[in-house]
Subunit: 188 residues, 2 copies
DNA sequence: TTCGATTTTGAACGGCGTTCAAATATTGAA
DNA sequence: TTCAATATTTGAACGCCGTTCAAAATCGAA
């Protein structure tokens, strides 16, 4: 009964972030996190119900930062739409490669995905995409474009992209976005 | 010193497959597997070095089955290239949705990816893709196409594809493949 | 049959997520 | 100020995990 819960919760999340960034997603455990945050495991469970709650909190933060990073990589309204989307795609890739542990936590590791729920944090990303792509592509097409680029990035971050020559991922993203945009323009 | 190691190894892998298919990727543990296979954990470690070895063996098998499934979904030389690739893409999606636990093991769960190595099992899949796509697209373009479709499937299997209307994934795959093929034809 | 080599075993180590009764700290009324 | 009542924290405990290893069991050859 020391600190307000809001504050302690934020502190714990910050500590969790440091743990993940510094030692990888697998270093995040209840005991280690409690030790780092200076409280007991029990307290941790009072504030978060499950450890997945911590991960969700961390992921929300990560997704927000990612969306901000993408937004600031957007060359702006003056640039052609394809260039803008390509810039977003490359920034998406760069973020994943720069923060592989966070990325892993976000998309691969320890996701107990209650099978109904899509992470609501995606909305920031998707609305940015919508803003840049304009009103014309359908939601489905927009999501398809995101998912296609996401596939390249996910495989690149997981180091499962074979035959990766210098800068190959960037060119792949450009190809997919250019072709995708053209395809959307022509087919709806 | 009872059974030949080859045989016991195969038996263990079969049991591991049953475990994963029946109870999900998380049910695969050394103790449970040993119990199911009727040996001790120690024996398991004599044959596989680490549990990841079991996973690798399982994944090789999964990848082989997947490649076979795709091959048998190919409408054949007579069909237009785009149709053939679309059929492969849809079969890829169907396989993932039909075997989510195997898919999870293959691409998400418990991959201790030694950061150099790309899973060699991909080669069967990629050479099939090459055979269908013809000699013209570069390796990079071919891999980009696979990765883009993979992104859609991975998100669909993980249930992280928002706003998924009936059959949306299939249409997304069609869109990406058609646009991608056109893009490759035009741009190299 | 004996003996060296191989294989199997199961207990043990440290760590995991999670729970919970007991201890502690805080509050508000008397 | 005192003292229940309440809220919070604690750390031991449960059953699981991957992995190791000395001892036991089993084998093939002599």
């Amino acid at each position: 009964m020391r600190k307000p819960h809001k504050e302690l919760k934020a502190e714990i999340l910050a500590e969790a972030g440091r743990l993940v960034d510094g030692e990888g997603a697998r270093a995040l455990s209840a005991r280690r996190l409690a030790a780092a945050a200076g409280c007991s495991v029990g307290t941790l469970y009072n504030l978060f119900e499950h450890l997945d709650g911590v991960v969700r909190g961390l992921n929300r933060e990560t997704m927000l930062r990612l969306a901000e990073t993408l937004a600031s990589a957007d060359p702006g309204d003056a640039a052609p739409r394809t260039d803008r989307l390509e810039a977003l795609g490359r920034a998406y890739l760069a973020y994943g490669l720069a923060h592989p542990a966070r990325w892993e936590l976000l998309f691969r590791y320890r996701l107990e995905t209650p099978p109904e729920a899509v992470p609501g944090e995606l909305s920031a990303l998707l609305s940015l995409l919508r803003r840049v792509a304009g009103p014309e592509p359908s939601d489905e097409a927009l999501i398809a474009l995101w998912a296609a680029v996401h596939g390249i990035v996910e495989l690149a971050v997981a180091r499962r992209l074979p035959n990766a020559a210098e800068g190959a991922e960037g060119r792949m993203i450009a190809l997919v976005i250019e072709a995708g945009i053209r395809g959307i323009a022509e087919a709806g």
